[in-house]
C-alpha cells in the first residue's frame, strides 16, 4: 500500500468532516501512518453538500487530495451521483442504504456494501448524531484500515461526555460491517 484513498460524501450536519478527522487522527497518531485529510463544503451550516477525504500512505504524501478513491462512502443521494464515477474500478463502495439507492450499473470490479448507518444510530444507539461513528465502525470492519484500539482511544479523548454512546455506535457499526462482509462470501 503506497497510497490509499478514502472519500466520504454526504450533506452538512451528518458529521462527514468529523468522521474523516477521527479516521485521520487514528491513522496518523495511533497507527503512525502518513495521512492528509481535506474537505470541501459550501457556505451553508447544514444541508449543503459536504465531502471529506483522507489519503493514507507509508511514505510522505505529495498530492494531498483524493484522485481515484479506493473507498467511497456515500451518505446522500447527491454525493452518490456526483462522485460515483470517480471510484477506482476495483474499489469499495459503502452506502447508507436508507439514503442512497444504486441507480445505475456499477463497474464489475466494485464491491458494494450496504450499511443502514442512520437507522442503526437512530434505533439502536438512540441518536442520529452517532451515524458517522456507526459508519466508521462499518468501514473499519470492511477494510481493516484502522486499528480498533486507536479508534476507541480517539473516541474517548474527543468526546469525553459521550464515550459510551460513541463506543456503542462503533461496535454496532463494526457488527454491521462484518455482517455485510459475511454476506459477500
Amino acid at each position: 500500500m503506497s497510497r490509499y484513498e478514502i472519500r466520504i460524501g454526504g450533506f452538512g450536519g451528518q458529521g462527514v468532516v468529523t468522521m474523516a478527522v477521527v479516521m485521520g487522527e487514528t491513522a496518523s497518531l495511533f497507527d503512525k501512518k502518513y495521512v492528509v485529510q481535506t474537505q470541501s463544503y459550501g457556505p451553508e451550516a447544514r444541508g449543503g453538500a459536504s465531502k471529506s477525504e483522507i489519503v493514507i500512505g507509508e511514505e510522505e504524501i505529495d498530492y494531498p487530495k483524493v484522485q481515484e478513491p479506493d473507498v467511497f462512502i456515500a451518505m446522500s443521494r447527491a454525493a452518490y451521483l456526483e462522485y460515483i464515477d470517480g471510484l477506482k474500478d476495483d474499489g469499495i463502495l459503502i452506502i447508507d442504504e436508507d439514503l442512497v439507492t444504486i441507480e445505475s450499473d456499477l463497474p464489475e470490479g466494485v464491491t458494494l456494501y450496504k450499511i443502514p448507518a442512520t437507522r442503526i444510530a437512530d434505533e439502536e444507539v438512540g441518536t442520529k448524531q452517532a451515524t458517522n461513528v456507526v459508519m466508521i465502525g462499518a468501514f473499519t470492519a470492511i477494510t481493516g484500515m484502522l486499528s480498533v484500539k486507536g479508534l476507541k482511544k480517539r473516541i474517548e479523548e474527543r468526546w469525553p461526555r459521550f464515550v459510551d454512546t460513541n463506543l456503542k455506535a462503533l461496535d454496532l457499526g463494526m457488527k454491521a460491517g462484518k455482517a455485510a462482509l459475511a454476506a459477500k462470501e
Partner: protein
C-alpha cells in the same frame, strides 16, 4: 514546554507557530478560510497571558496590531484576501514606521467576495504592490501543515529582525488540510527579538539605523520619547518635506530587505540535478507537481522543481540559475498567472510556460504531467 504532536489543520498549526514564536497579541476579524486561526487564538491567547481582541473590521484589526507591536508585544492578525484589501493602507504605515508584525492571508477565490470556501493563489502580488509607494515586503508560502507552523515562526523572526511587516501567504487547501504536526520543544526553537533602544534617552534618535540598516526600537511607555508617523521622517522621527530625507528614508527601508534577500529567500530544489525542464510552483500546486515529476521521471523525462517557500523578496538568483540550466520552465500556480510574469522577466531568453488554474481545486498531478510531456516533446 516539551515537544507535542498533533493531527491538525494548517490554520491551527499557524496559530501554534505564532504562540511558539512568542506572539502575545492577536487582533482580528474572522473570515473564511482563516477563521480557525482567530478561533484557536481566542482559546489559546489567555492561556499564555496574551490578548485576543476581535474588532469591528479589518482596518481596526491591523491598526491595533501596529499599536500592540509598539508596546513590545509580538503581534499578528490573520485574514483572507478581502480583509487584506482593507488592510493595505495600514500595511504601508507599518512599513513606514518599521513596525514588526505578522499578517496571515489564507487565500480564497477572488476578486471581491469570490468563493469563500474555495482556495486560490490570487493574492501573491497584493502584498508587494497593494499599498502605495516604493516598498519591499517579505512573504512566505508554506505547502504543508508542518510548514504552516515552521514558517509562521520564521515570519515572526524576520519581522523582528528587520522591523517590518511579514506575510504568510497560504492557499485554502494548506490552511484547511489536516496533517501530523510536530511542535518542537521551546529550547529547540530559534527565536529572534527586535533590537531595543539603549543609551541615554536624550541622545536617542528613533530612526537612526545600525549597520544592518535597522534602527533599534523604543517601546511605548519606556523612558525614550519618540514620534512615529507615516509622513516621511528624519532620524529624529520628525516629518520632513526635504528631498534628501525622502530619498534616504525610502532607500534604506528598501535596502534593509534587498541587502538581506539571500538570508530571507527560501526555496526547495526537487530532482533538479540533471533536469532539462524546471517546474516552478509554491503552496498546494507544488505538491501536485511533486507527484507529476516522480511520474514523469518514471517515463524517463528529466524534470525537476524549484519550489518557492518565499515569494517576496522574489527569488531572482534562483530563477536565473534554473533558467541557465534547463531548456524550459513551467510555472504552475492556482491563479491566472502572477508569479509567471516575474519568472518570465528573470528567465529570459529561456521559454517560460504558464500552467494556470484560477479555481478552488489546484492543478491535478496528471494535468501537470500532461504539460510536462507536451513541453518535453517540443
Amino acid at each position: 514546554m516539551p515537544e507535542r504532536v498533533m493531527f491538525t489543520m494548517g490554520d491551527i498549526a499557524c496559530a501554534e507557530g505564532a504562540l511558539s514564536a512568542g506572539c502575545k497579541y492577536f487582533g482580528g476579524y474572522p473570515i473564511t478560510p482563516a477563521t480557525e486561526i482567530a478561533e484557536w487564538m481566542s482559546i489559546r491567547m489567555p492561556e499564555v497571558g496574551g490578548a485576543y481582541v476581535q474588532y469591528e473590521d479589518e482596518i481596526a484589526s491591523i491598526t491595533s496590531v501596529i499599536g500592540a507591536s509598539w508596546t513590545g508585544a509580538k503581534s499578528m492578525t490573520a485574514t483572507s484576501g478581502p480583509g487584506v484589501s482593507l488592510m493595505l493602507e495600514a500595511i504601508g504605515l507599518a512599513v513606514m514606521t518599521e513596525t514588526p508584525l505578522v499578517l496571515v492571508n489564507i487565500m480564497r477565490g477572488g476578486p471581491s467576495t469570490g468563493q469563500p470556501t474555495k482556495g486560490q493563489q490570487g493574492d501573491v502580488m497584493q502584498p508587494k504592490w497593494g499599498s502605495h509607494g516604493d516598498y519591499q515586503i517579505i512573504a512566505l508560502t508554506p505547502a504543508s501543515v508542518q510548514e504552516m507552523f515552521d514558517q509562521t515562526v520564521q515570519a515572526f523572526n524576520l519581522s523582528e529582525k528587520y522591523r517590518t511587516p511579514v506575510f504568510v501567504l497560504a492557499d485554502e487547501t494548506v490552511g484547511h488540510m489536516r496533517e501530523r504536526l510536530v511542535i518542537p520543544a521551546k529550547k529547540d526553537l530559534k527565536l529572534e527579538y527586535r533590537k531595543l533602544a539603549s543609551g541615554p534617552p536624550e541622545d536617542y534618535l528613533p530612526f537612526k539605523p545600525g549597520d544592518d540598516l535597522v534602527p533599534p526600537m523604543a517601546l511605548l511607555g519606556s523612558k525614550y520619547q519618540f514620534y512615529a508617523t507615516g509622513l516621511t521622517h528624519d532620524e529624529r522621527g520628525y516629518p520632513s518635506d526635504k528631498e534628501h530625507v525622502q530619498i534616504e528614508l525610502i532607500t534604506r527601508l528598501n535596502n534593509k530587505i534587498i541587502h538581506n534577500a539571500d538570508k530571507i529567500i527560501d526555496v526547495e530544489e526537487f530532482m533538479l540535478d540533471d533536469a532539462k525542464i524546471g517546474v516552478i510552483a509554491y503552496g498546494t500546486p507544488s505538491r501536485s507537481a511533486k507527484k507529476a515529476i516522480k511520474d514523469a521521471r518514471d517515463e524517463g523525462i528529466k524534470v525537476g522543481m524549484l519550489r518557492f517557500k518565499t515569494v517576496w523578496p522574489f527569488p531572482e538568483e534562483q530563477v536565473a540559475r534554473l533558467a541557465s540550466q534547463v531548456d524550459h520552465i513551467i510555472v504552475a500556480e492556482q491563479n491566472l498567472g502572477q508569479m509567471y510574469y516575474m519568472v518570465k522577466a528573470e528567465a529570459a531568453p529561456t521559454p517560460v510556460h504558464l500552467m494556470a488554474k484560477p479555481a478552488g481545486m489546484p492543478q491535478l498531478p496528471n494535468e501537470i504531467l500532461d504539460k510536462v510531456r507536451e513541453i518535453n516533446s517540443l
